[in-house]
Amino acid sequence: MTSVVTRPQPPSESKRRSSRKIPTLALVAPSVIVLILWMVVPLAMAIWFAFQRYNLLIPDNREFIGLGNFIFILTDPALWISIGTTLVLVASVLLITIGLGTLLAVLFNQDFPGQGIARVLAISPFFVMPTVSALIWKNMLMHPVNGLFAQITRGLGLGAIDWFTDFPLVSIIIIVSWEWLPFALLILLTAIQSLDTSQIEAARMDGAKPLQLFRYVVLPHLSRAIAVVAMIETIFFLAIFGEIFVTTGGGPGLATTNLAYYIYLKALLEFDVGGASAGGLIAVVLANIVAIFLVRSVASNLDT
């Protein structure tokens, strides 16, 4: 598509390299300003509250207690357990969704009868509300007495697995992976489709085997998409809440209490605004650490 109008070119644009002066700042500014407000206001309030003993239900008790909230939270063994659980949860689901997602993206990129419909079915889990997904999995599928899985294994004479008692974290991992695999699949599939088939043909002419093709041609092309998926999913997995709330309530014990659930206990069960703010700040620090780590391992894919 070429434009019909030829505008007189100002001298600076006769250079070969595209050094067009466009107001990059003006383009980026609206998003940045809006996000600054969104971030700064709650962050400032969180910092303000974190140093007070402020319980919404006991307003007369309010006073500055310095680092009291932080000490209370940091000396709580439950906090460290919840951080560990969070990391395990995030890492597991990331691996499963990206690993399986890549393989499935390759699979669904193939031409097979009814592939359109199969693709559509495969991405459906992402559309279901997380709490509803969790309820379905907990009561209709995984329940050791009434659930479908138990019925099947019992029918095969194998007894029933008590998922949420014996393998609570694994159960949550299964549920969340099921929900997010379609997301990874969709993004990676879109990315694979942009792979130039001529490149593959050329490689195959050179005698490359399928596995080598995958490793040296497909994967590098997908690296940016994988990086994006990883970053986005990490942000969401750090905040997994609904599924836990509805199935295990953080238990048994603290087996499935992640940082988000821990803060929920503080913020909404106690209405301890001070404690919740302190917890939130700690969560921000943790998330930033994870992000830095993730960026280091994935950063190269962010540049052209």
């Binding site: 998003s31 693709r119 459906s124 559309f127 309820l135 695999l181 593959i200 998409a225 942000i235 939130g280």
Partner: protein, 275 residues
Amino acid sequence: MKTNNNKSNKWLIGLLGWLVACILFFPIFWMFITSFKTEVAAIATPPQLFFKPTIENYVAVQERAAYFNFAWNSVIISVGATILALLLAVPAAYAMSFFPSKRTKSTLLWMLSTKMLPSVGVLVPIYILGRETGLLDTRIGLIIIYTLINLPIVVWMIYSFFKEVPKEILEADRMDGASTYQEVAYVLLPLALPGIASTALLSIILSWNEAFWSLNLTTFDAAPLTAFIASFSSPQGLFWAKLSAASTMAIAPILIFGWLSQKQLVRGLTFGAVK
């Protein structure tokens, strides 16, 4: 990718593809058929695959809650927030992907970090803010919040899709004398359309299913489908069949929309065609 002419390979792949699709879809299918069972049949053991279907659950759900009000709210809020986010994000992503500066990477990362403060912790301040500005229980209020929540993701994804577009194409166009606007509207956007579409889809889904702010900032006028679901979830008593019916009604619009738009994505413009 692997252009197999081997027929049996094709069938094997097809089988595998369908197996995966069915496994992934199965829980939704199960929920769907449960919505046609009576409450007692819904929890019966062994679970029944063949049963006498009834639509009493759908009737009960519709009688109790005005589904269309909730659904319409969900549509307006999700689509509104997505449009707003796109309007803000596309220019920003354009600038950052084609004219990167030293600060680009850190800006991107900073944007993502705004999502790290758990919503739970800031509920009370935002609630008070909402009360002061009169935005509680309004659709606009939720649209604003969702735009802010989704903006980092939308910027990121569009940024990465823009990066897929070879600079040469744009440059070639520029050499022909196209203006920035024409370059973006006629060349860039069409090329990146599948990417933008999948980003929009993601943003709509995230807004549709968001169940924290939508429950806390609305009561009646602006309540979306998440509130509809919350009213059928875990009451005292048997509720599986009704919840399944309510969930089916709640995800049906988004599921259909996703299926239809996904066709657009997949039909896709390959970069080869542009040449």
